[in-house]
Symmetry: C2
């Protein structure tokens, strides 16, 4: 058996080796180390260096590789390098980046720097960049690349292959070729696969696919990503309001978008504001800002729970043991609700429950809530009786648990639908929120059932 | 301005139209409706039908299209159709599915049905399927397709293009060609792009890429997906222990894997067991089973909190108002901890914090916890004083909140690292778990600070 090394371990080895070589001032060694390494891994290794070392390491790279590595670097490191470099060096790199990567960089830079850089780009690149920057953030227009190959429908397969050989370097994608008419309207798509497999004398018109999926420049980037995923595409054409082809979104961006969207959902579910920045690279004040808003909302909800408990001081003073079961009841209720909201929110965001309306889903969750409540309530009743030897308290706890689980399921599954109905992000109905909201209702139910059962 | 229709709305229209036409018995109309619709959308429309209608709708499709649609269908619907169909019809479809999709279907079918189907497949397909079924679940071997094009290195570009024309239909992917030696060792990769752009007389050896990324058959599918994403590949070769090429994992599977993994993480964070099944298509008992385990664990933790509160009955009876602040303190602590664990778990799972060790992360979270605790503690102190006009209680609440927030941050950020260290899924340190665990510690801290401040 051969020893198995995971790719991630290899990469960490490169990172630490690079640090050592640079600390020793062994630049030739560092250069040799990076030679067989993939650009994305070089970018990671550079990100792991101290700020002063980053520029030194970056200068070891050949020109073509430097551009590729630069595109992969995190935006904060990209900025550091821009500040460290002499003007001409920066310009050379920025001018050669692909327009969509360049726009992603510009989004992070101060407006002043962007204006200066834009003014110094070559006219063609400036135009391409300005076009993308003109579209709103998180839309297809902003993430597309204008570097694709478009051809006229009367070209033959042989002519097309010749044309591609000339155009390939100016295009980010050559696996799909776009057939347009004289006013740039998209007529069809020919894949490189179809082209290679077709009779060389056929025209593009004869072999192109005409029922095609396209999006407009203002389509949300998440929808773009979902369409590429759904139809197993390598790229998706973007058209403007007049149906003219203006760009292409490629699959590699898609994967990053879906991952970012999943992170945003997870953050929202955990009660952390997500704004696309890397949480681990922002400063403490930003971190606090991202988290404090939710905590305040929840603090206020919690004081409501406290107020309710205070208003029941009379019953608590009579039966102090009731207080001991509050965490169990509200905690379990919160957890049942959090489970329901989690599955519903994920279902909504991945479009897996779009076919079913809210009715059947909430009903099913309510049934699950009663079932879970009954199982847990039985256990809790036995446990409460064992602790207190008081059937009234034990029954109060058990019955309350069923009622709270039912209610928590309905709230957990219903609120995300309600939020979406009003155009809000369903993920705002996060586990922390449901947990806290159920607390309020939980103690209300508990004390009222206690009054009923105990006859207070 | 043109009216904008979202793709998802169009798809829902097809679903409802199909239902109406089938209910009217208008089979010709249904057939016409589905003609311009993409296979994946037809699959969705069929999934939306009642069980009896699904087979009828499916029979409307042409043979080639039926296979494509079948591959996209949810596994429960695939099973229903298998049961409804006559043996030969089933076999025709199953025999023509691509091997990786077939294996995904077989994973869901009863073992008896799988054995029967396997025995009746054509020899070539049987062999391919048995090969994949031999690898463990969730590994590269299980999800790869054995349908790729491999070529010898001495072929010229022209010869290769001719060869591809013959082989293309037997391959799931032709954008990458794999160059192997006589014992099937992987020597290099030629992309269709390189092939089309190269001098026709060059040999594959001259144009192939040699520093390539590959995985072995037992590599975890999530690692496979992350590598494809990281290196912007369209496919990743899979080699066996002797470094022989045995299959290829394609990018379209990658996106689904990453989405499933994100769903599993989100479910785990919400306290729901994830096993890859579609939550909304499993029955209530399965749903309860997926959720009850966690709820029990949390119930037990909650009873510990309850026990602690009961043990403090002496202090509670003296200062009943202390009870009113328990939900606020434990709730806020739980939420702070949930935030920390959320960002750390997501960071670990997307490999964005692998470069940094646990130390700096936990330290940073602890600082954030103190900062957030101080902000919220100040507010809580003022609020508590306003309610009770008792500085001792107010200060107890404020100081407790800072201590609880600090502790919750450390627990929330540290426990995922600890779990990963022991080879467990960090996502088990979910928001519900942290929330509940912090409850226990929260009340302990609260009552002890109360004893100190109130001098009880």
């Amino acid at each position: 058996m051969t020893a198995k090394v995971k790719h991630s371990e290899l990469r960490q080895l490169v990172c630490s080796q690079l640090q050592i070589l640079l600390a020793q001032g062994n630049l030739e060694g560092a250069k040799a180390l990076l030679l067989p390494v993939q650009p994305v891994d070089i970018a990671e290794a550079i990100e792991g260096l101290g700020e002063s070392m980053q520029a030194i390491a970056f200068r070891l790279l050949g020109k073509a590789e430097a551009i590729e590595v630069y595109e992969y670097l995190d935006s904060t490191v990209q900025q550091t390098l821009i500040e460290d470099f002499r003007r001409q060096e920066v310009l050379d790199i920025v001018d050669k980046m692909s327009p969509d990567d360049r726009v992603r960089l510009f989004d992070e830079l101060p407006a002043k720097v962007v204006r200066r850089l834009l003014a110094q780009l070559s006219p063609k690149e400036r135009e391409a960049t300005a076009l993308l920057l003109g579209y709103e953030e998180d839309t297809a227009g902003r993430i597309m690349t204008p570097e694709y190959i478009s051809l006229k429908e009367n070209l033959t397969v042989t002519q097309t292959l010749e044309r591609i050989r000339r155009l390939a370097n100016a295009s980010e994608i050559i696996y799909y070729l776009y057939v347009t008419d004289s006013s740039r309207h998209l007529k069809g798509i020919v894949s490189l696969r179809d082209l290679v497999l077709s009779d060389p004398n056929k025209s593009l018109e004869e072999i192109m696919t005409q029922d095609l999926v396209s999006v407009s420049t203002d389509t949300d980037r998440e929808e773009v990503a979902r369409l590429i995923q759904r139809y197993d595409l390598l790229a998706l054409p973007v058209v403007d309001r007049e149906q003219r082809l203006v760009g292409v979104v490629t699959i590699d961006d898609t994967m990053d978008i879906l991952e970012e969207e999943a992170t945003e959902d997870i953050y929202a579910l955990g009660g952390v504001q997500a704004d696309g920045d890397n949480y681990f690279q922002t400063n403490l004040v930003t971190v606090a800002r991202k988290r404090v808003v939710w905590l305040f909302v929840l603090l206020i909800t919690n004081t409501v729970t406290g107020t309710i408990i205070r208003s029941q001081e009379d019953i608590l003073q009579q039966v102090v043991t009731l207080a001991a079961f509050i965490p169990l009841l509200t905690g379990t209720g919160g957890n049942v609700g959090a489970q329901s909201s989690t599955v519903v929110i994920r279902g909504l965001n991945t479009e897996t429950i779009n076919n079913l309306g809210p009715g059947p889903i909430i009903f099913r969750e309510a049934l699950a809530g009663v079932l879970l409540g009954a199982i847990l309530g039985t256990v809790a009743t036995v446990w409460a009786f064992w602790l207190q030897s008081d059937w009234f308290v034990a029954i109060t706890v058990g019955v309350s648990l069923v009622a709270i689980a039912l209610l928590a399921s309905i709230a957990g599954s219903g609120l995300p639908f309600l939020f979406r109905h009003f155009g809000l992000d369903p993920a705002l109905m996060s586990a922390p929120f449901i947990t806290t909201a159920v607390d309020v209702l939980g103690v209300l139910i508990y004390f009222n059932i206690a009054r009923l059962v105990l006859g207070l």
